[in-house]
Amino acid sequence: MVTPPKTIEVQNLRLAYGPKEVIHGISFDVRRHEILGVIGPAQSGKTSLLRCINRTIEFTPGVHLQGAVRVDGEDVQKVRDVFALRRKIGMVAPLPVGLPLTIYDNVAFAPRCSGMRSRSELDGLVEQCLRQAALWDEVKDRLKTLGTKLSGGQQQRLTIARALSHQPEILCLDEFSIAIDPVTTMRIEEVLKELRKEMTIILVTNLVQQARRLADRTMFLWNGEIVELDRSDVVFSEQPRDRRTYEYVNGIFG
């Protein structure tokens, strides 16, 4: 069996906020067009890890980073055009953040910033992204209303549409289902299954079953260390390699 090429490589990553180290030297890689599930209790470094990948971690004061994160073979700490790097990565936050703009402008924001001006191109792209995020039918008649007027679940799909708008190669979702109902969650999960054909997805979630449903491989992160990283059927089996994985997955601790 041929291993698919790697999209992200993380090597011995250590991250500290001031004197407090939150990620203690982890190494793993993410393969092209896979869904990597990341599970683990709160404070285990899941969000910090995502922020290292698109380098938004550097806006937190007092942060100290060691080791390397490589995206497509390029070390993100040394990359020349950090804005291009960030455009390569779509990021969806736990709570939807509607920029104070209309629905249309929210999705068209990133393409406009990278210089797309043509009205018809923008229209097409906005429609495509909203369709991909399973939101188009609900908002197509009110693209000019404020994004913040939508319901929580709709706003979250709007942020997904926005994250897709710069046609990223990698999509990072950080506990996207925290603020939305189960039905909408299932719809988005269907969306993700479609998207995986086109991009690599990192799915941080504290719904263990969500990782089980979607992820090709699952990583169990605990207190800033990788307890286990394997194919999802192994992680969620009766006999994962580490006892703690079994206990966490089955709700015995955590």
Partner: protein, 311 residues
């Protein structure tokens, strides 16, 4: 068998709050309500007293409101030809204020954006302290600078005959308004949630795109408030403009003409006008006029903000 019988009900008084706590809270609520309403009371009170002092002149025969508003002749102490026309004073006030705002708004908002978004934490602390210090300089000191330093600079660079004029007053007022605009504007930018910044940055925006497309639109209400406070300071400022504008009743035709403002006129003449004379009352009427100008400006700005919000 385990004993699952319900435990016997314990008879106690329902936990009520002591009477004094309830009354105390009500009292506090009334005190707070009074604090809130007091602002309205003070504004109405000030308007009433200023207007009451001015009112008798409005009904007296030898005064016309038309002349007061639209005549440029201000001869309040003349023996034979008393004229109370404030047009030149109004124009003087507006000229100095507009010039000050043209200088202070771009400069102040630019500085606010820099302090809030572009500079490092250490420089930011230093700048904030210095800017607050700048805001605390008394206006008479600014007037003094206008009268000495700025006057010679203007005379040397422009060749104007008198260095105390619209330009001088405008620059001094701009310098006085900038610290206010910067500190309020910086607060407004700081109040934009960080999640907006993160979301925009994660979409690959550069710093400038972040500022222009997200932060400025999101903070526009606060920024407008900053500008308004700056305008308020410029219009209401008395001592500095008294010293820096030349204090000559005159409709300016260029930046280098001296003018006189409404505020400076009140400050300079009120002490010498006999109480309850026509002159004295007209000065109070000028106060009412100033009041009206600031009121109109605030109201317009408020409507503009609402318009923006609706959009």
């Amino acid at each position: 068998m385990t004993d699952l019988a319900p435990s016997p009900a314990v008879r106690t008084r329902p936990p009520g709050r002591p009477r004094w706590a309830v009354l105390g809270e009500q009292l506090l609520e009334w005190i707070i309500r009074l604090c809130g309403i007091s602002a309205i009371l003070f504004v109405l009170g000030i308007f009433y007293f200023v207007f009451a002092k001015a009112a008798p002149i409005l009904v007296s025969g030898d005064f016309s409101l038309r002349e007061f508003l639209f005549s440029t002749q201000w001869y309040p102490t003349s023996e034979v030809n008393v004229r109370y026309g404030t047009l030149a004073l109004t124009v003087g006030t507006l000229a100095v204020t507009v010039l000050a705002m043209l200088l202070a708004v771009p400069f102040g908002l630019g500085a606010a954006v820099f302090v809030s978004e572009f500079c490092g934490p250490r420089l930011k602390e230093i700048l904030k302290v210095v800017i607050e210090l700048l805001a605390a300089i008394p206006s008479v000191v600014w007037g003094f600078i206008g009268l000495t330093v700025m006057k010679t600079v203007i005379e040397k660079t422009t060749g104007a005959a008198v260095g105390v004029n619209v330009l001088n007053g405008g620059i001094i007022l701009a310098l006085m308004s900038v610290p206010i605009i910067v500190s309020i504007g910086e607060d407004a930018l700081k109040a934009v949630p960080d999640s907006y910044r993160e979301a925009a940055i994660a979409l690959g925006t550069t710093r400038w795109q972040l500022v222009c497309r997200v932060l400025l639109p999101a903070a526009k209400t606060g920024l407008l408030a900053a500008v308004l406070l700056g305008v308020g300071r410029a219009i209401g400022e008395t001592m500095a403009v008294l010293m820096a504008t030349g204090h000559a009743v005159n409709i300016p035709h260029s930046l280098l003409d001296p003018v006189r403002t409404l505020t400076a006129t009140i400050a300079a003449e009120l002490g010498e006008a006999p109480e309850d004379s026509n002159h004295y009352r007209v000065l109070f009427l000028i106060g009412v006029l100033l009041f009206t100008i600031t009121f109109v400006i605030n109201l317009t700005a408020d409507l503009v903000i609402r318009g923006i919000r609706k959009k």
